[in-house]
Symmetry: C2
Subunit: 235 residues, 2 copies
Amino acid sequence: MRTSRLCIPDCKDCKNNNSVFCSLNQNEKEVISTGKSSNYFKKGQVVFYEGNHPHGLFCVYSGKVKISKLGEGGKEQIVRFAKSGEMLGYRSILNNEAYNATATAVEDSYICFLKSDNFFQLLRESNSLSFNVMKLLSSDLRSSEKQLISIAQKSVRERIAETLLRLRTRFGLDNEGAINLKLSRQEIGDIAGATSETTIRTLADFNQERVIVLQGKRILILDVNKLTQIANIKD
Amino acid sequence: MRTSRLCIPDCKDCKNNNSVFCSLNQNEKEVISTGKSSNYFKKGQVVFYEGNHPHGLFCVYSGKVKISKLGEGGKEQIVRFAKSGEMLGYRSILNNEAYNATATAVEDSYICFLKSDNFFQLLRESNSLSFNVMKLLSSDLRSSEKQLISIAQKSVRERIAETLLRLRTRFGLDNEGAINLKLSRQEIGDIAGATSETTIRTLADFNQERVIVLQGKRILILDVNKLTQIANIKD
DNA sequence: CGCTTAATTGAACATACTCAAAATTTGTGG
DNA sequence: CCACAAATTTTGAGTATGTTCAATTAAGCG
């Protein structure tokens, strides 16, 4: 189902100006262009599997990807998302180890692939790229620790409220004001650390309380303040 | 309570050969020596507080430090430990942000302090240091994600078993075969994400089942296999 | 030796999970 | 565009795991 070499603009012209590669000069961007290829992933398709060995890194051109890990019991936990301009799988490349997680498209996505060698070449040549990667790792670590404490200490109700707010901040709103990412109840539970049944019941509660509006998978947040209050967030 | 400039060997002679600074040459190590100072922290003393602004990074010369964050409800969660040779607070330095967590000595410790400027100078000069820092961040992130899934999906019994095994691997055993770090029941709970009462009851169960032996704060693991089985660990 | 802190035990309670069944939505082929 | 199959969502009831709160015992420390 992959279609390769589609009509994606050259990296030099890539409009994703939030990527770690932004600080590179034209010469260095040329290295990316020569080392890269692009692929199309339909919603639900897997970009890479936990445990497999990486040969390069991925960069989302358009669409959205969930990064998840399986617990011992086979239950999925979503640890992160990647949207346009963001990298995937670079951590495994850096450490020359198998992928720590599975990446799955949650929307139809175009995803670029950059070979390891080219990435390492850039890393050696560009100090600012190294620095950006460090910042990225730091930021991911901060999020992970925050989520750890949330799951360790908060109730499911609080966590699901928090999850909705995070999705809102991260993906913004569509034309009608709904969270710009459609997930299954199961997936929302897989972020918050809850079963789909509990997630469904909690969302139904929020709906009843007029804090959100449910339209199938589309979720509209009516009252951000109330939801923040439910989530028990101070900062 | 701090006693500064104690009789700690010069960095060039530092025997902690597991640090990220190992790859530096003598010249570069000189930069550390000139930029550093050392302090003594008694068990229970705080090295730095979450929310405060950093001016450099810490490196444990001897002793052990817990790194913990407070949840909204004021409950503590231990996110990591640092032992001899390991850095503290570098993440906040890198991102020029306030400390994300509080560091507290869990044993009497000598801790070196390196000014930000010197660290950044080294980071610019040494590619391998940058690389080591990236690996460190990656490793911390991997641990954090693993712990996230553990707390999200496992029972307290499983998590406490896992915690004991992790402490054993990380800190080794003392002369009598006990885990080489004495923590309160509360602290063990603050790692595993459980209350002190539940932690006490679970440890008592393990004791009764002849999997561990409790001698006050000293914990002896009698049956690693059984504990691994209880922890539900496959790899 | 007294005082403070930590550990322990018990009982009641609540949150969230499991399992099962029904209703609804979504996807697919004709 | 419809019909059927498959997947997802929803609802209900029972249950287990951990928490909370309170009281007691033990341990550590000046």
